[in-house]
Point group: C2
Chain length 419, copies 2
């Protein structure tokens, strides 16, 4: 079940990685059910339940058409202050987005149903939905599963959970890491879904991370926000962005460390690094499951005026259809990279621009590299995982982003409805 | 010759339009030659010569890696003040971009060679190049054709000129219009090339327009700049932008109208409208020749806070891979349009958002339209030319943009080098 694709007939990405070993996280129980948002037999409902006292922080889509479940989460995190969150209810198959007041009602009913199972207020339950946009979501399908959820809650269901939230994903995604706080080993473990920044009728990047560490909501948020910039916001498949993107981190505190109340606490550094490692691993798996992807590409941008400028330059390279199709064609077409760099409208020095593929120089100081070898370059471009390093020669700003190629597979997945 | 594709083996776009009838423009002579930037037999060199006294205005790429010929044009228009330009030399097959000092030298030598033929200073000659980026351009190939150019200059070569500048274009592009100034009919006629905002190794949008009207350089520039926003800057194929984009307008003054010295002159209005009509026709032909295009799409964005915001919203829709693949699949996937609108980061009201395909409402006031008909929508989506109207419900700003779909053809043209 854990490797079943979210949608029948999808071929598993050639860039897929195996699901890592996922143990329990103290204070977290999971239940999986089938609400029936899909016609075919598959789990499509995940409930995460937390023991009393779990802290939570979240980051959400900045999309102008944010969905009802995102609005619900924001309101809940505000009313609770991120303290004592007790559950999250997540469904695949309907994004509950662009559904107006009916959508607000469906999110509320989902949260209330789970609150009844867990025994808490509804604002202690967070919501997330992924799937088709603009179709009213039938909350009774979720309510009808509360008996199964109540009986099913168990600490060892992480692999099933990773599968239950998939839509057009071709493989389930999870990551785990540990850190030491006060001599105690804490675990951070998460699952994610997404294939394309937004998949077709099936929207959304979702990620749910839990840790047994004791961390305050404020410290969690202060670590999550910058880490998101370097992880989920540093990957792109097609530049399209979902109405429902959600990343929630829950800290149960069961590891028994003295709580980290402030991200500036020196004890927080190891935890923050492990959290970021988990987020990065999950984010990179999204790229590995990019729709139609056959190449996994890391773009390192250096020499920009500052890091924000470097990110914009790197993003423009990563989202350029011409760069992405060249990579699909195993063509070291550095002219297209100069084009992308130039259209980013960021400071750069044309006569210092340098581009490398792996260790091979393509361009150096604004012209083709003197030692450019087409044979060596062609051999490099045949690899499944590529590194492109670009220096724009005006400063010390840098950024790294990850993307995939743009192939016939992307067109087929997203455009071949009627053919 | 006029319908020969710029590159062998290309299939003519299904959206192609026939070359219009192109007469001479008084004061303009054209010569076509083969410099040899292509291995196969085809014209790749165009020289436009103007009688004494032609005014000129230009708009150029805002690309950070502007090419040597663009730099040359900017310097020439500055030193001449746009007065008495005598020629333009345009080659296909080498963009002379990212070529450093060798590129500057090649542009200078090209201009000097043509200045020798026409009998003028080299800064009275403008340059434009399109083709492969990063390969030093051999100016001697152009110099060697000056005898042929000198003998070939003639007023009736406009159709051949439209073909000579093609790269990956699948059909030659031209447009003409007339206006009445002081009771005299003036003609505005232009040619353009481009297939994709930037084509692969073959870069660039180029457009050359000539009129027999008498218009000062200042007035010409004052009319050209805003018209460009609503024409060339209102079309997009893949969002990628060239290092060489150039649009030059020459006014010979041979029609004999009293010169228009100021764009605010009431006599300028009819001329400005005709100029914009020519530019729009050329720009729309670029979309019709979009790489792999099978659908021609007009997006009308209304209800934005202002026109600039409307343009950004329209552009985001037009460049969204998910919107473009849905159109290719003849799928009226309005959920993807809401997604694109939302990620434009512009003011909009989710609960007032309305979307129409032709006259058919897909969404109205933030939810699926009550009279939505899948059958009617599917029938509409099968058309080759589509109109999508989106209202974001917050103001009176509007914009119209044109784009094409994203198909397997685009991937094949840009990515199938090694397969």
């Amino acid at each position: 079940m854990t490797t079943a694709p979210g949608k029948p007939g999808l071929t598993v990405s050639p860039l897929a990685v195996p699901l890592p070993k996922l143990g329990p996280i103290a204070g977290v129980r999971l239940a999986i059910a089938r609400a029936g948002f899909y016609k075919h037999e598959r789990p499509d409902l995940l409930v995460m339940a937390f023991d009393e006292g779990a802290a939570c922080a979240g980051v959400f889509t900045r999309h102008g058409v944010g969905s009802a479940p995102v609005d619900w989460c924001k309101a809940s995190l505000k009313s609770t202050g991120g303290q004592n969150l007790r559950a999250a209810v997540i469904n695949a198959g309907n994004a509950n987005s662009f559904t107006k007041t009916a959508g607000v009602e469906a999110a509320r009913r989902s949260a209330e149903a789970v609150a009844g199972v867990v025994g808490c207020r509804s604002d202690q339950v967070l919501t997330a939905s992924t799937g088709v946009i603009g179709v009213p979501m039938d909350a009774s399908l979720i309510e009808a599963q509360m008996g199964a959820v109540s009986h099913g809650l168990a600490p060892d269901r992480w692999p099933e959970a990773a599968s239950a939230i998939m839509t057009t994903d071709t493989f389930p995604k999870a990551a785990a890491a540990t850190a030491v706080i006060d001599g105690r080993t804490v675990t951070i473990q998460g699952i994610a879904k997404g294939s394309g920044m937004i998949a077709p009728n099936m929207a959304t990047m979702l990620a749910f991370v839990a840790t047994d560490a004791a961390v305050s909501p404020e410290a969690l948020k202060a670590m999550l926000t910058p880490a998101t910039i370097r992880t989920f916001n540093a990957v792109t498949v097609d530049g399209d962005r979902s109405t429902n993107d959600t990343c929630l981190v829950f800290a149960t505190g069961k590891a028994g460390n003295a709580p980290i109340a402030d991200a500036a606490d020196p004890r927080a550094a190891a935890f923050a690094a492990a959290l970021e490692a988990v987020l990065l691993n999950l984010a990179q798996q999204l790229v590995r499951d990019g729709e139609g992807a056959t190449k996994y590409v890391e773009v390192r941008l250096t020499g920009a005026v500052d890091d924000a400028s470097a990110r914009k330059l790197a993003r423009t390279i990563c989202e350029s259809p011409l760069v992405k199709t060249a990579i699909a064609g195993e063509d070291a077409n550095w002219g297209r990279i100069t084009m992308a760099v130039g259209r980013a409208d960021e400071p750069m020095d044309r006569d210092k621009l340098s581009i490398r593929f792996g260790d091979l120089w393509a361009a150096r100081d604004g012209a083709v590299a003197p030692d450019y070898s087409e044979a060596a370059m062609s051999a490099y471009m045949k690899r499944q995982e590529l590194l492109i390093t670009v220096d724009v020669g005006v400063g010390a700003g840098s950024a790294t982003m990850w993307t995939c190629d743009l192939t016939h597979g992307y067109i087929s997945i997203n455009g071949d409805y009627r053919s």
